[in-house]
Subunit: 187 residues, 2 copies
Amino acid sequence: MNFCSQCGASLTVRVPPGDNLPRHVCDSCNTVHYLNPKVVAGCILEWQDRVLLCRRAIEPRYGLWTLPAGFMENGESAVAGAAREALEEACAVGDDLSLYGVYSLIHVSQVYLMFRGRLKDGYARPGEESLEVRLYAEDEIPWDQLAFTVVHETLRQYFAERRTGQFHHHLGDIIREGQQFRIHRYY
Amino acid sequence: MNFCSQCGASLTVRVPPGDNLPRHVCDSCNTVHYLNPKVVAGCILEWQDRVLLCRRAIEPRYGLWTLPAGFMENGESAVAGAAREALEEACAVGDDLSLYGVYSLIHVSQVYLMFRGRLKDGYARPGEESLEVRLYAEDEIPWDQLAFTVVHETLRQYFAERRTGQFHHHLGDIIREGQQFRIHRYY
């Protein structure tokens, strides 16, 4: 961030009056430009004991498998965002979405809201951002070809709980430590 | 948003290639500037059957009562954000925070993550953004002087459930309709 999006003047990183963190502040009109975490909304959609995964046709993690998920848009709800991503990435309709896991990805300043629900009619086809889509039974999940730690964690919890017949809500932080990721599970 | 924060050139609102929504796109360097919802992290902190409210010393809703809550910062977790807001607004330490309600405020593109927990030692003092702070019993809550619909809804659910002795997670959308707000409760 180099220039003020309001007036086009240059920016300086400094702590504004009354604040306690450095911000990008305009040298001319004094507008403070905050940077805040983005929300990613996604979902596990199940049909006949299998879950929908998409193989990514975009970077990062081109060619690896993921749950439908993407950045929430202004003016939509979290549920609508998760449903939209399933539609865009897998031409899939999600029914009965409920919030399953909330994960803070601290290193990239993202908050994942992961829902679970039913895949309507078992129907899915690749959207523009997917090379292919597939319904996976638990013993077929390509664990070593998943795109993101948060996807791995969500699927792991999901299958562990499905065996017990009862789903709970989950809250966690995913923390990068060098090349590894550590998961702090609150519950 | 008028100017490109990367190069300072002017912006045009148009649908970028491969996208399906109008974005602010730079006329010179073609950077796409996305606008996404912000996360507000907040909490209900309880001590001896009373909950902590803060009377706002800032706009909007100056002078009205609210739960500690504010925009999450880059590089922090949702739990840390909620705890930080309690500390900043009420010099209060929240223990054992768990996620209670997730609300999409569609009209302002905000996602509220409302936690609940214990107020450590029952201690609270006004921070810079609060005129006063107070521990309220249920029958003392100033329902007609609450700052925001999402605060009203969170407190309403909380007290209704506390009577039953069992708390559940809640998911909802808050939708502006003229001067009124409608709450869509998923659960």
